[in-house]
Symmetry: C2
Subunit: 215 residues, 2 copies
Amino acid sequence: MVFYGYFRSSAAYRCRIAFNLKGISPENRYVHLRKNGGEQKMPTFTALNPQGLVPALEIDGAVLTQSLAIIEWLEETQGGPALLPSDPLERAEVRAFAQVIACDTHPLQNLRVLDYLKGPLGHNQAQADDWCREWIGRGLSACEALLERRNEETPFCFGETPGLADICLVPQMFSAARFGVDLTAMPRLRAVERACNALYAFADAHPSRQPDTEA
Amino acid sequence: MVFYGYFRSSAAYRCRIAFNLKGISPENRYVHLRKNGGEQKMPTFTALNPQGLVPALEIDGAVLTQSLAIIEWLEETQGGPALLPSDPLERAEVRAFAQVIACDTHPLQNLRVLDYLKGPLGHNQAQADDWCREWIGRGLSACEALLERRNEETPFCFGETPGLADICLVPQMFSAARFGVDLTAMPRLRAVERACNALYAFADAHPSRQPDTEA
């Protein structure tokens, strides 16, 4: 198993957490999103993932892409603790929470989107940062509300052990802090983040602890 | 089962196709995204979905949100034809294709994003349309490449019967046509779209055939 990632990619960060929770150590290759005009756009990488985005996971000649698809594949094929509940209604709840982040929040603050805002649309860095804060704020507010309406309080988003929702939340909270999003109205998300980062699986996957980390 | 949708929402359109393929007819309620300042933002709707986005599916007091989570729930609980292959590697391939659209393409051309481009960022309609064409073009090009590298040609994206990938593709192709995206370099996607739209399940779910349709 060969994993192609980048230390600061939220989607790669999710996969790193999932590998750790499952106790899997793929061989790592690093794709630098800002060097050489973006290594993710080079033919050597687009041959693996025509979308030109990290992460990608090579297995027996096949290449898996898209972090949520990779994590569902891990869940279906690898042992280790379950990342989704067994009840279908609860699975749907966890997946919806994950998708608020993976579909409606993170893709809006992706590098290529910020490049388009600053290039063709002529915005400055401050406006690009406002844009990120806007979408991260809206996405995380929705996540806080999803936890608030649950009947029970648990250390992790949807239970006593971390799963797919937590895997998506923690990288998004990291990027919220980077952009200075105000998280005071999100006590539940902050508590979950603290609980997660106290675990080796999450701490070890942090962008600051990767071999390709930069200041 | 009560389904909250809007005729032109890509995510609601996906669910309508999935209901039809599974032979399920939920009770329909319509949330007008452009009337009354956006009915999706009203407290009656945000009580169901705090994210303030369609679709939502009410079942036995629980509310499911996010189209892909709803469709996976249908797949796990309802009979009818399978929307995902049984082999885990193939499931991952189908989910990744679906997520190229549902994560990296569609959320960028959502109403709320266009409102932000035209409001706070001061762009005109032509610039907002260019923005949509940019992201739809990139997303669908990646989808075409994902089909191109398969070893076999099939009438639907990943097989002889339609599934999750086709469910996500057809609404995105509809919105590509609306925005005038050039699809000449995507013969595989166009052939799949034709095959899908020849089926009742897809034709009946088309935005032009809904009770809340407008010109």
